[in-house]
């Protein structure tokens, strides 16, 4: 099997991530922050280590308690937006947002009385500066499109937010683990990311990093926090303020091991590798007249074949044991920008675990499908 759907979730995971997580499950997996026995304490320490590791990955020190775990980025973004955005505010979002940003923002128009405008991701500075009004308080943006990998650079967003005294909330789902993100040099107020994509953790874990605690609002979910049980309210302090209930400890531990793997290989080497694979495939596809290309970055490449449904193409590739994703990728806004809202695209997304052999196989597979069915 050739797996080319890493923008959805990475596969396979590095062996050391699997072995060490299974070892944890077999030998140490208690409920963190609840009991006094060794399993609970060991798990608590592992969770803390993961918070520390995330902070180091993002270039910030001494803010481990500002890392809050959720079950995925969608929950992280919903928490960040619904807990921290003040009612009645004006918000700017990019024109390539995933539904995990777009849908909560659309819903908050009714629930929180917010208003929003959409800025042009291909002309960020001018577009944002034209849209800012006296009520604008927040910029919410992806750092990289999940459809094409197109990047909205954090340094540009960060500078704009600081210039206009706006809070900046970013979705780092496709950027983290591929490119360096340093929140000390290019700060944002909140960063949300998944554990299960380019950080090589298991599904079931995402996280929010609160780089600025002035932005905190009331919790979205109340429940057991393992401390101050006598109180009727959730704790005021991070991270427990937003972590009600049992954490997904095995997924969090796998995320920790994934980051350790990343640190061994280095992010620059990972980006060099996936960029080489994607640019090689892009170059080869550009020689086939029937293929429409939509740019590439961060290991992601979207295509369409003339007069061929992208779902049909994905099905035929699946018959050849090649895993891709077709359709709108939960990102209709991005497809509207590309002009592919009616057709969708076939998305191919690489990870560090892919090889040049995978590039060869998918290229020849697409070529043979075009020859067979056109």
């Amino acid at each position: 099997m050739i797996y080319l759907d890493n923008a959805a979730t990475s596969f396979p995971k590095p062996n050391e991530v699997i072995y060490k997580t299974v070892d944890f499950i077999k030998n140490s997996c208690g409920n963190p922050g609840r009991s006094s026995h060794s399993l609970s304490i060991k798990t608590s320490e592992k969770i803390y280590e993961t918070r520390e590791n995330i902070c180091k990955l993002l270039g910030i020190k001494d803010k481990s308690e500002n890392v809050v775990f959720t079950q995925n980025t969608t929950y992280a973004l919903n928490f960040a937006l619904k807990c921290c955005i003040k009612s009645g505010s004006h918000i700017l979002i990019s024109d390539i947002e995933h539904n995990s940003v777009a849908r909560p923002i659309f819903a908050m128009k009714n629930t929180h009385g917010i208003s929003y405008d959409i800025f042009d991701s291909s002309d960020v500075v001018n577009s944002i500066e034209k849209l800012i009004n006296k009520n604008t308080k927040y910029i919410v943006s992806t750092l990289s499109s999940n459809v094409t990998g197109f990047e909205i650079p954090l340094p540009i967003l960060s500078k704009l937010a600081q210039k206009h005294s706006l809070f900046l909330i970013v979705d780092a789902s496709q950027e983290i683990g591929h490119k360096e993100i340093n929140l000390k040099k290019t700060p944002c107020d909140i960063l949300c990311a998944p554990g299960h994509k380019s950080l090589f953790g298991f599904q079931g874990c995402g996280f929010i990093v609160f780089n600025n605690t002035e932005i905190l609002g009331a919790p979205l979910i109340e429940g057991g926090s393992g401390n101050e049980s006598i109180s009727k309210n959730m704790p005021q302090h991070l991270p427990e303020r937003y972590e009600a209930g049992t954490l997904p400890s095995p997924s969090i531990v796998s995320l920790n091991e994934g980051i350790n793997f990343l640190n061994q290989v280095t992010i620059s080497e990972i980006y060099r590798h996936i960029n080489k694979l994607t640019s090689e495939l892009y170059a080869r596809f550009s020689e086939i007249r029937d293929i429409n290309l939509y740019g590439f970055d961060n290991g992601i490449l979207s295509i369409n074949v003339d007069k061929m449904d992208s779902n049909f193409l994905a099905e035929k590739l699946d018959e050849l044991n090649i895993c891709t994703r077709s359709g709108l990728h939960c990102a209709p806004m991005a497809h509207k920008v590309l002009g592919t809202l009616n057709s969708g695209t076939l998305r191919i997304s690489f990870s560090y675990m892919n090889t040049y052999d995978d590039v060869d196989k998918v290229y020849y597979a697409v070529k043979s499908i075009i020859n067979s069915y056109k």
Binding site: G33, E45, Y48, N227, I230, P235
Partner: protein, 72 residues
């Protein structure tokens, strides 16, 4: 040996301080506070030797993390 316990509202804070203390060469233990304390047993603390009192309080002050001394 006489020991002192410092309580924290969050296990995350307790682990953070414990790590800082161990890095500074102060031996300490992470414990769950007893139900006789104000937390009613829903908090964690660090237990250390009385001899390390000044080293510990210096690290606590630097950390900016709220804490209480507990009768355990």
């Amino acid at each position: 040996m006489k020991t002192i316990t410092v309580g924290f509202k969050s296990i995350t804070y307790a682990i953070k301080i414990r790590k800082n203390l161990l890095k500074s060469g102060v031996n300490c233990q992470l414990i769950k506070l007893s139900s006789k304390t104000g937390s009613k047993g829903c908090a964690y603390g660090i237990k250390f030797d009385f001899a390390d009192y000044y080293a510990v309080t210096a690290i606590l002050k630097e950390s900016n993390i709220p804490y209480t001394f507990e009768n355990q």
